[in-house]
Amino acid sequence: MAEVMDAAPRPPRRTGPAAGRDGRPLGFAVVLVLLAAWWIASAYVAAHAARPDILLPSPLDVVAAIPRLAVFAGPGTELSYANALGVIAYHSAVSMATLLGGLAIGGAIGVGLALLLGWSRRLRLVFEGPLLLVRIIPLLSLLPLFLSWFGGTRTGAVSFVAFAVASMVFVNALEAIRNVSPLVQTYARTLGASAATVYRTVVVPAMVPELVGGLRVVLGLAWAILLAAEFLAAQSGLGRILILAQQYLDTSRMILIVILIMFYTYIFDRALALVARSLTRWVPRQK
């Protein structure tokens, strides 16, 4: 017993994010297994199907397809890695600008509306119903409508993403405002804060974690919304070249573009997670 009590305090056992690192090799192994499964399946398809390149190309076929992306730079472009890189850079930049524009505009509108409605009971009574009605319209069903309003322009794509983001963020932000502890708001009142000051100094900071959590979901959906808009209407962007590749029946190129989009989605999610962590350091977590 005495020995135990005299022992120097042990370093605290790792919990939370640090403990997750132990699971990383396993996650990597799973990815390798999936890759191997793809390879085996493609070998099987190659042995039995008439057009394996359409049905399921092998990972090597996909890598070999990279130069063919240069086609999207226009007819007569040399099919080189350099030109393919140019194509990737251009269409990625277009898509990302659209996505970020839509997120910024839609996010600002969504949060702004939620703050207005969270503030005023009267505004809430008048506008909450109609806004929730907007929320339950299937988003993709509105795409043709945006097409007739904007044609196949970038403005149309940005507007559509912004609309989708605003409607999702609005609901999330309003809920976040409602979940701010009434006790803490009352506490601020007794410390001399006016209603407006409570809103600014308590409600706004306290709603951030839930808002940011919701934003990660919205971000994933925003990519899907963007691609849908580009399938139908755009002259450029990743969605556009994805649909073109499909029209050429070039599955390898389609897979390349999908992998690219996955990569971007992952990067965006990690970036947001990083921002989220610095914004929510204070949030009590269950251990």
């Binding site: 803490v184 009352t186 009142r189 007794t190 410390l191 001399g192 100094t201 951030v208 977590r285």
Partner: protein, 269 residues
Amino acid sequence: MLAAQTAGAPPHIRLQGVRKVMKTERGAEIVALSGVDLDIAEGEFIAVIGPSGCGKTTLLNQIAGLAEPSQGRILLHGKEVHGPGRDRGVVFQGDAIFYWRTVRRNVEYGLEIQGMPKAERRDHAERYIRLVGLADFAELYPKELSGGMRKRCQIATVLANNPDVLLMDEPFGALDYPTKCQLQEEVLRIHTREPRATVFVTHDIEEALFLADRIVVMERGRIRRIVDVPFGRPRDSALRIEPAFSDLKAELWALLEGGHAPAARGHDG
């Protein structure tokens, strides 16, 4: 300020026939307070004791202005109370704390919204952080504190705001005995230095006796009895072991125990 203490002046806080009826979610009515009359003098320390659910928190909320009485009125310096204000600081029974602010910035909150310049409010807050023994923890977030430390942070925040009236709802309920005693003595010191009308809700008879000038014993929404505490001030921990202290403690015990059948019990047992 002391000039207000002339003979004809109204008491600091006056509760007149206060009744509070609450509605439950199912529509039933609960009489949380009824016929409560109480005058609290300038600088007087009142402790409120009574069984759980007897209306102590409700009483405090009424004075704080967090709910309007169903009947009767609450006067502060002769003026009726409507709504909360920084003149009445409240230490809540629950975990009232700004989770996104460090201890230091919690304590600064009231000063900050008043517009006190940064350097000045830092010094001011520092005093109260020391007072409650959180000097080494000033840069931590509330999630990194224990329950008792969060309570001390709340007390420091309320005191730093320099309220006219102090309303405390079982502030030391979550603390260990030595810390509790230490903070009780701290409360006494503060009260001696800057006496302000205080209403202190507690379950702890000894705490009530040690701190208060008068003890309000409540039972089912009513004031059952108001007991005068005869000990002078300043008080120190020696008081806790005086025979008179023990006697009064036993008397209050009997009063509380016999709460539901007052006629059936004597004081001689």
